[in-house]
């Protein structure tokens, strides 16, 4: 269970070393997510995200 999810899921790893270009693209993806999260918090604090129901 340490290296693999339980039997309802499957975990995959690259067959070969990941290229530098791919690493850069994956990092860029992570950066854009961080930017989105920051904006989400900003919008929340600014009252732009409306609570509809509880």
């Amino acid at each position: 269970m340490d290296n693999k999810f339980n039997n309802k899921g499957m975990s995959f790893v690259p067959k070969k070393e990941v290229s530098e270009e791919a690493k850069l693209k994956l990092n860029k993806l992570a950066e854009s997510k961080k930017e989105y999260l920051s904006k989400l918090v900003e919008d929340y604090r600014a009252g732009k995200l409306i609570h509809q129901k509880s």
């Binding site: 899921g9 499957m10 975990s11 995959f12 790893v13 994956l26 989400l40 604090r45």
Partner: protein, 159 residues
């Protein structure tokens, strides 16, 4: 279960959870637009929603037990209700969020939930599917093709 309010829509949903310490945690589900991630596949482009969790005003990744439970309840509800939905989460490998995901999976009792997890470059890309509402094999093939076409990464099962 902690108290929360929500703002739910077709392309995005937000849950604002109030923690026991009276802080707000935002749980967001957001459809991925082509300019963000182009899957080049209708099944993925139409059905993948990214799940994100962020705490407003607090630094750190730790989650108290009640918050973890509340997030799981909301996650289950979303994956149960939306036909065809694939929930996508990306985290750093070995991070607290990664450990939390593994704990959720290990303790999950929804036998119809499936998980496909791809590890690369210190990151983990996890896709959650409801096998009663989503074709797992088609989704798996589409994801493998996406990673190969977009990043040149061929995956094999981790043993």
């Amino acid at each position: 279960m902690l108290q929360y309010t929500s703002n739910e829509g077709l392309d995005s949903s937000h849950f604002f959870i109030t923690t026991l310490a009276d802080n707000i945690c935002i749980l967001a589900f957001k459809k991925l637009e082509e300019e963000e991630i182009s899957f080049n596949n209708d099944l993925l482009q139409n059905n993948v929603m990214e799940m994100m969790v962020v705490k407003s005003g607090i630094i750190g990744e730790n989650f108290c037990k009640e918050l973890s439970k509340t997030i799981k309840v909301l996650f289950d509800r979303v994956l149960e209700e939306k036909p065809g939905l694939i929930i996508y989460i990306s985290v750093d490998e070995g991070s607290l969020k990664h450990q939390l995901i593994k704990r959720y999976v290990d303790n999950d009792v929804n036998d119809h939930f499936n998980i496909l997890s791809f590890k690369a470059a210190g990151k983990v890309f996890v896709f959650f599917l409801n096998s009663q509402k989503t074709n797992v094999v088609k989704s798996y093939v589409a994801l493998v093709n996406y990673f190969e076409d977009e990043y040149g990464i061929e995956f094999e099962e981790e043993f």
